[in-house]
Each structure stands twice: as structure tokens, then as C-alpha cells.
């Protein structure tokens, strides 16, 4: 591979993050990053559009995930040592690149705010109705900030531990529900053709575009040659989890799925085995918090790192707490109520995230590739 040192040198030549993670950790981080919030809203949203074909939607949606991943790997092939923010400067030049980066500096706190807000609203709704949102949000963000301050290695490790618990318990809960599931709810398949399931795939697709975060994290992977393989596995795992979740909701609630805010929560509450395995919703909340913790951490991490890179600082650690606080403020700005969040997820947020997490990076990659070709021809 040809590396254009002159271009690389014009950007930041010293990495701010000194830690390294493994490709396996990278792929594990991405699982809750996509799943944690989507698992709550996706069954309901896909049901609205796709009806009993809702289980197909995540499969279509995963194509968007693969595209995001491809863009991330493409960018990283051009500039292996640069994150999206740095390579935008290398590709679009100082002004263009900074402008491009600024877009993300505005977008990242916004989306982080949405994520934290959804976390807060969910906890208020289903566990702690009397507790002010602020207390719930701040306590979580504080813990995440500590996690992020400790560096990418710690974030990777916590993800490893929590994801194991997350998957184990989620599988356990679904197994407990088997008795109440009615697989015949899947019929008829494709009642109105493929269109409904494709429409239903927009929302999960928007979640899948979060795989572009790989473009921010790939420079810190020490075994890069395994990264592609592991990331593909990660997408597979996420797709499977979404499909299984949708199946469980469909088989349990049928057409009623879309009338609930959080169908997975209803499913967990429905468990009743041998008169004592009941009221398991607290376990669901507990393991879900483990997942959302990883998600919020990684978004705050990417936001902080991007800001530091954009400002060309030498370290990012001192930025963590103030920027986390910015995210908390965004939490209040993004929506006024629970219905706002639901509406956001069902409609505009999808286009918004897809544009910023897939379309823009794709354009960047395209520009980079053309520029690269041009340089190559000129030097030849």
C-alpha cells in the first residue's frame, strides 16, 4: 500500500490515544453500541411498517451496516493512522477538512444526547418514576466519563465483560419465554410483498450506520489484519440478535407489538415459570444498563477524541468531563418528552443519522479515493 507521507504529515502526526485494543475488542464494543438502544425501540418501529415480516427488516438493515463498515475500512486503508476527523483534513485540505470535522463535533454531542435521553426516559418509565431525570442521567454519564478518561483499553475491557453478561442474560430471558411463544404468528410471510419489510428496515438501518464509528477506532487496533473478519462477525451477531428479538416479540405479542413502547420490556415482564420465576424486569433493566453503559462510553469517547483531534491538542483526557457535561445539556435540548423521542426515532432521526454516519463518510471516501488516484497518476 502506498502511503503519502506528505499528506499524512500535514495532519496530526502524533496519536493522542496511546492505548491499543484488539480487533476482537473492537468488534465486541460495536455490539452494544448498536444493540443497546435499538433493542428497545426497533421491534415496535419495524412492526409498524413491516407487520409480521418484521423479522426480515434487520436483515435488510444490516446492508447499511456493511456499507458503513466498508466506508470505515476504505478510509482506514487510505490513511491507516488517522481517524475520520484527521483523514478529512488530509483529504479535503485544512479548511474543508475542519469544516467537515466541525459537522461531527456538532453531530456527536447531539446523538449522544439522544442516546442518554433515551436511557434516562427508559429508566424513569420502567424503574424509577419518582427520580428526576437529571439524577439518572448525571450518575450514568459520570461513570461513563470515568471509563472514557481511563482510555480506550479500559473501554474495550469493560465492553468485553459487560457484553458477555448482556448476551448471556438476554439469551436466558428469551429461553424462559419459549413456552409462551406462538411461532405460527410468522405467517403469512410477505403478505404485501417485500416493500413493508424494506420500509421497516430504515430505522434499524439507521442504527446499523453507527458502524462508521469503526473509522474512529480502527487506528487504535493492534492486530489490524483481523479487524475486517471480526467486524463482519460483529455485524452478524448484531443482526442475529435483532432478528431473534423481533421473533420473540412477534411470537409473543403478534400484531400487538407495535402498540407498546418497549415490547422487549413487556416480554420480560410476561415471564412466569413455575410460580416463582416472575417479575424479571429488574434483571432486564440491570443487564440493559450494562449495554447502554458501553454505548454511552464509546460515544463520549469518540466525541472527546474527535474534539481533541480537531483542535489538534496533545491529550484528550482533560476534555472528557467538560464534554460529557455538554452531552448532558444536549440530553435536555434534544426532546421535551418521551413522545418526542419516540417520534424522533420513528421519522427524521433515521435520515439524519444515515446522512451523517453513512452518506457523508461515503462522499469523503469517494473524494479521498479520487484524489489518491490522481496523485498516483501524477507521480507515475
Amino acid at each position: 500500500m502506498v502511503v503519502y507521507t506528505n499528506l499524512e504529515m500535514s495532519g496530526v502526526d502524533v496519536m493522542i490515544e496511546h492505548g491499543k485494543i484488539s480487533a476482537a475488542q473492537l468488534s465486541i464494543i460495536m455490539v452494544p453500541t448498536v444493540l443497546a438502544t435499538s433493542i428497545l425501540s426497533v421491534p415496535s418501529i419495524t412492526m409498524t411498517y413491516a407487520g409480521q415480516d418484521m423479522w426480515l427488516s434487520p436483515i435488510w438493515a444490516s446492508i447499511l451496516g456493511l456499507m458503513s463498515m466498508w466506508v470505515a475500512f476504505g478510509l482506514s486503508k487510505l490513511y491507516p493512522k488517522s481517524t475520520l476527523i484527521e483523514s478529512s483534513v488530509l483529504i479535503l485540505g485544512k479548511w474543508g477538512g475542519k469544516l467537515f470535522g466541525l459537522l461531527y463535533l456538532l453531530f456527536l454531542p447531539h446523538i449522544t444526547g439522544v442516546i442518554i435521553r433515551q436511557y434516562g426516559e427508559f429508566i424513569v418509565r420502567s424503574a424509577l418514576p419518582q427520580t428526576p431525570l437529571f439524577a439518572i442521567v448525571v450518575s450514568m454519564v459520570l461513570v461513563c466519563a470515568i471509563n472514557v478518561r481511563s482510555g480506550i483499553e479500559v473501554v474495550g475491557r469493560t465492553a468485553q465483560i459487560f457484553v458477555a453478561i448482556f448476551i448471556l442474560f438476554a439469551a436466558f430471558l428469551f429461553v424462559l419465554l419459549i413456552r409462551d411463544l406462538h411461532p405460527e404468528q410468522i405467517l403469512p410471510i410477505g403478505e404485501a410483498g417485500l416493500l413493508p419489510s424494506l420500509r421497516g428496515s430504515v430505522a434499524p438501518g439507521a442504527w446499523f450506520t453507527e458502524y462508521i464509528l469503526l473509522a474512529f477506532l480502527l487506528p487504535y487496533v493492534h492486530d489490524r489484519h483481523k479487524a475486517l473478519h471480526k467486524s463482519l462477525l460483529s455485524i452478524l451477531a448484531v443482526t442475529l440478535s435483532m432478528v431473534i428479538t423481533n421473533f420473540v416479540c412477534l411470537f409473543l405479542m403478534g400484531d400487538l407489538t407495535d402498540s407498546f413502547q418497549y415490547p422487549v420490556m413487556i416480554a420480560a415482564r410476561y415471564i412466569s415459570i413455575a410460580d416463582f420465576m416472575q417479575h424479571l424486569e429488574a434483571i432486564v433493566i440491570a443487564i440493559w444498563i450494562a449495554g447502554i453503559f458501553v454505548k454511552i462510553s464509546i460515544f463520549i469517547y469518540v466525541f472527546t477524541l474527535s474534539t481533541a483531534e480537531w483542535l489538534e491538542l496533545k491529550a484528550y483526557r482533560s476534555l472528557v468531563l467538560p464534554l460529557s457535561f455538554v452531552c448532558v445539556i444536549f440530553t435536555y435540548w434534544v426532546a421535551t418528552s418521551q413522545t418526542d423521542i419516540v417520534k424522533l426515532y420513528g421519522t427524521s432521526a433515521n435520515v439524519y443519522t444515515i446522512v451523517l454516519l453513512l452518506v457523508m463518510p461515503s462522499l469523503l471516501l469517494l473524494t479521498g479515493a479520487i484524489k489518491n488516484k490522481w496523485f498516483k497518476r501524477r507521480s507515475a
Binding site: A127, Q130, T131, P132, L187, P188, L256, Y270, I271, D275
Partner: protein
């Protein structure tokens, strides 16, 4: 065990311990901390309407007993009369939410619905429509979607107020009866599904009250499932008792705990069969624009009483009994089919859903006309019965002089 005296290790352990105990202090539930003795735990809810169409709810509240600590632990058997375990409180309101709030104001503790395992709807309340109750039950966060729903012949409060001698509370009776599948096993979620669904109907168990034993308080008795309550849209329209309710349960594939009494042809006395396996399959067909439903009922059972003189070793006799059994089932199912399709024109058995699933094309073309099609769907009933066991005995028992037959 070797004690590690390294100071660094000690500091580490101490700080770990400290941080864990600090965490424990923080883990009390923030603003939502509620002491268990500030809760009024509701076990069952009854919904009635008053004469003025106001909602009247009655709840059964668990009374935590003091005896555990004070009365030297002897609270088994005679010590605690069942009457002290639960109490009943009622409240009125223009709608169920208002009634619930009024109820809260009558109680010194926070009402907690998380353990409400049974919901009883009075017949009057059910016939004026249960939509508002369903919405409330599926919207109010604390209520469990797994709670069983029943319709009671009397006012629901009469069922809720019972203090059964056998179980801790009548809520427990209702929950166990739901688990035992004595009628239909319908949870709040199932009920909403079946009313919201294509069939726009529901079948719930109907409750009656066993008259209390002579000399006992009128509350010292239990509710029991007798017959079924039929709902069209969200309204109660009719209740059915045996044998129609049995036929309905067969069609719903929910029949359990039953004994059939069969009178074989040419016999004056009868044979009782306990089926262990009852399945009903619905197979929809559309041929030349004619809609038909193949209903295939399969039963396997064993004889538990033989008061005829027929030997059960003889396969000819068994065939004869099976034929009579088939006739019996036919006589139970056919009137129910007629009732549902022609009389009430209500799709209790989920025909619509079955057609949608297995005849998707025809369904898509004709779903607008379903109301007209349904009464004319030809229900093609076929029944297979099989006796697989004859209990502990082969030959009839208790016939005078029977043992002597070998000498004849």
C-alpha cells in the same frame, strides 16, 4: 489459610470493601425508595359498574401478618384463620383511573399493583364494554400483562371478597385455576391480542361461587370456573355452560381436566374415559370460491370406569366404544359451530387468522367481505378418538359371579 500481611494488599482490600459499602448506600433506589411496609400489595382486582354506569373497583389487599415475630412462630394450621390474610377495599369513579385514584386515597399505604395476578370483571361491566379497562391494564406501568382475566356471574366484588379456606386468598385460587387450565387460560395480553386481532372476539372463563358449607361464614368459600363467557368486539354477549363450553374448549384447543361419559350402542350403562391428549387442527381451504375449514379433532384417552358388561380386551368392543365417543364429541362441537357461525356470527376460533395465514392470497382478495363470508364457511368436522389404555383392569369388575365364567 495464610494471612497476607502485605500492607498494599490490605489497603487494596480495605478500599474495595469501602467502595462496595459506599455503593450499597447509594443503591437504595434514589427518589423511588419505598419501604415494603409502606406498600398495600394488591393481589386481585375486581371491576364492576354501578347503576349509574360508574366504575366500581374492588381490590384484594394483602395484610402482612405480625405473627412471624410475636407469636413464637406457631402460625400454621389453626393459629391464623384465613380471614386475616387479605382485606377488600372498594372505590367508585367515572372511569377506572379515577376509581383507582379514589382507592389510593382511602388507603394509608402506597397501592402496589405489581402482584395483581387476577382480574375479575363483573358480568354487567363486561357487557358494557371492556375497552377502557384493557387500555388501562396495558398502559398503567405497574400492572402485569400476565394477570389472568375472568368474568364473574355475580358482581366481581363478591368474588374478590371471598376468603377461601384452602388457599391463602381468592386471588391465589384464581391464579392456580388459571394455571390448571380449568377454563380458558387468558392473560391480559392474550385478551388484548384476541380482541384487537382479526377475530374481534374473546372467550373467558366464567366464575361462580361455591355455596359455603353449612354453618360457615358466607365468605368462607371459593370461586370456581363454570362455563365460559363469550365476547364479541369488546362486549360480553353470552355465557355458555356444559356441554357447549366443552365443545368451545375443544375448538379452542384448550380442553384439559375432563372425563367423558360414553354410552356404547346397545348398552344401557356407560363407560367413562379420561382423555390425556386432545388436539384440534384447523386447515382452511378455498375451492372454487367456496370457503371451508377442515376441523380435525384427535383424542386419546383411557377408560377409568366401565359399568357395562363389555370386555375391554375385545377390539370389537373398543371400536364400538370409540364410535360412541366420537358421536359424543360431535354432539358437543357441532352446536358450538352453529352458535358461533350462524347465531352470534362471531369468530371465536380464529378462522380469520387461520385463513390469513394459510390461504394468504384468497384472504387478501376477500378480507373486506369477511363478515359476509364467515357465517357461510363450511366447517368440515372430523373426529378421531382412540382408547389407549383400560386402567388397571381388563375385564369389568364387580359383576356378581363373574369370576366363575371360566367354568362355563
Amino acid at each position: 489459610m495464610r494471612i497476607n500481611r502485605s500492607p498494599i494488599r490490605f489497603i487494596r482490600i480495605a478500599s474495595l470493601f469501602l467502595s462496595l459499602s459506599t455503593a450499597a448506600m447509594l443503591l437504595q433506589g434514589c427518589w423511588d425508595r419505598v419501604e415494603i411496609n409502606d406498600l398495600a400489595i394488591i393481589l386481585a382486582t375486581g371491576i364492576d359498574v354501578t347503576d349509574k354506569q360508574r366504575v366500581h373497583i374492588s381490590v384484594q389487599i394483602f395484610i402482612p401478618r405480625q405473627s412471624g415475630s410475636s407469636s413464637s412462630g406457631s402460625n400454621g394450621g389453626s393459629a391464623g384463620s384465613p380471614s386475616s390474610v387479605t382485606m377488600v377495599q372498594t372505590a367508585d369513579g367515572d372511569n377506572i383511573a379515577e376509581a383507582m385514584n379514589r382507592l389510593q386515597r382511602k388507603l394509608s399505604r402506597h397501592v402496589f399493583w405489581g402482584h395483581c395476578e387476577a382480574i375479575v370483571i363483573g358480568k354487567d361491566a363486561a357487557s358494557s364494554g371492556i375497552r377502557q379497562y384493557l387500555d388501562f391494564l396495558l398502559r398503567f406501568p405497574q400492572i402485569r400483562e400476565h394477570a389472568y382475566v375472568y368474568v364473574s356471574e355475580q358482581h366481581a366484588v363478591e368474588t374478590i371478597a371471598l376468603l377461601p379456606p384452602l388457599e391463602r386468598s381468592s386471588a391465589e385460587v384464581l391464579r392456580e385455576m388459571g394455571n390448571m387450565k380449568l377454563g380458558t387460560k387468558v392473560t391480559v395480553l392474550n385478551l388484548a391480542e384476541s380482541i384487537d386481532g382479526l377475530s374481534k372476539s374473546a372467550v373467558l372463563s366464567r366464575l361462580k361461587i361455591i355455596p359455603s358449607a353449612f354453618g360457615q361464614s358466607k365468605y368462607a368459600t371459593m370461586p370456581y370456573v363454570r362455563g365460559l363467557a363469550l365476547f364479541k368486539n369488546d362486549r360480553y354477549i353470552k355465557s355458555i355452560a356444559e356441554p357447549n363450553s366443552i365443545g368451545m374448549l375443544i375448538m379452542l384447543n384448550q380442553l384439559e381436566n375432563i372425563v367423558f361419559t360414553v354410552k356404547p350402542e346397545g348398552e344401557k350403562t356407560f363407560i367413562a374415559i379420561q382423555p390425556s391428549n386432545i388436539t384440534t387442527d384447523l386447515t382452511p381451504k378455498v375451492v372454487n370460491g367456496k370457503w371451508a375449514m377442515d376441523i380435525n379433532v384427535r383424542m386419546r384417552g383411557q377408560v377409568i370406569l366401565n359399568s357395562t358388561n363389555l370386555s375391554l380386551l375385545d377390539s370389537k368392543n373398543l371400536k364400538n366404544i370409540e364410535a360412541a365417543w366420537t358421536e359424543l364429541i360431535k354432539g358437543m362441537v357441532e352446536p358450538v359451530l352453529h352458535l358461533a357461525q350462524q347465531e352470534l356470527k362471531t369468530d371465536f376460533f380464529g378462522y380469520a387468522l387461520t385463513f390469513r395465514r394459510y390461504q394468504a392470497k384468497e384472504w387478501a382478495k376477500n378480507k373486506e367481505n369477511w363478515e359476509k363470508i364467515y357465517p357461510n364457511v363450511y366447517s368440515n368436522l372430523s373426529i378421531q378418538t382412540r382408547i389407549f389404555g383400560t386402567g388397571k383392569s381388563n375385564d369389568p369388575q364387580g359383576i356378581p359371579g363373574q369370576a366363575d365364567k371360566r367354568n362355563k
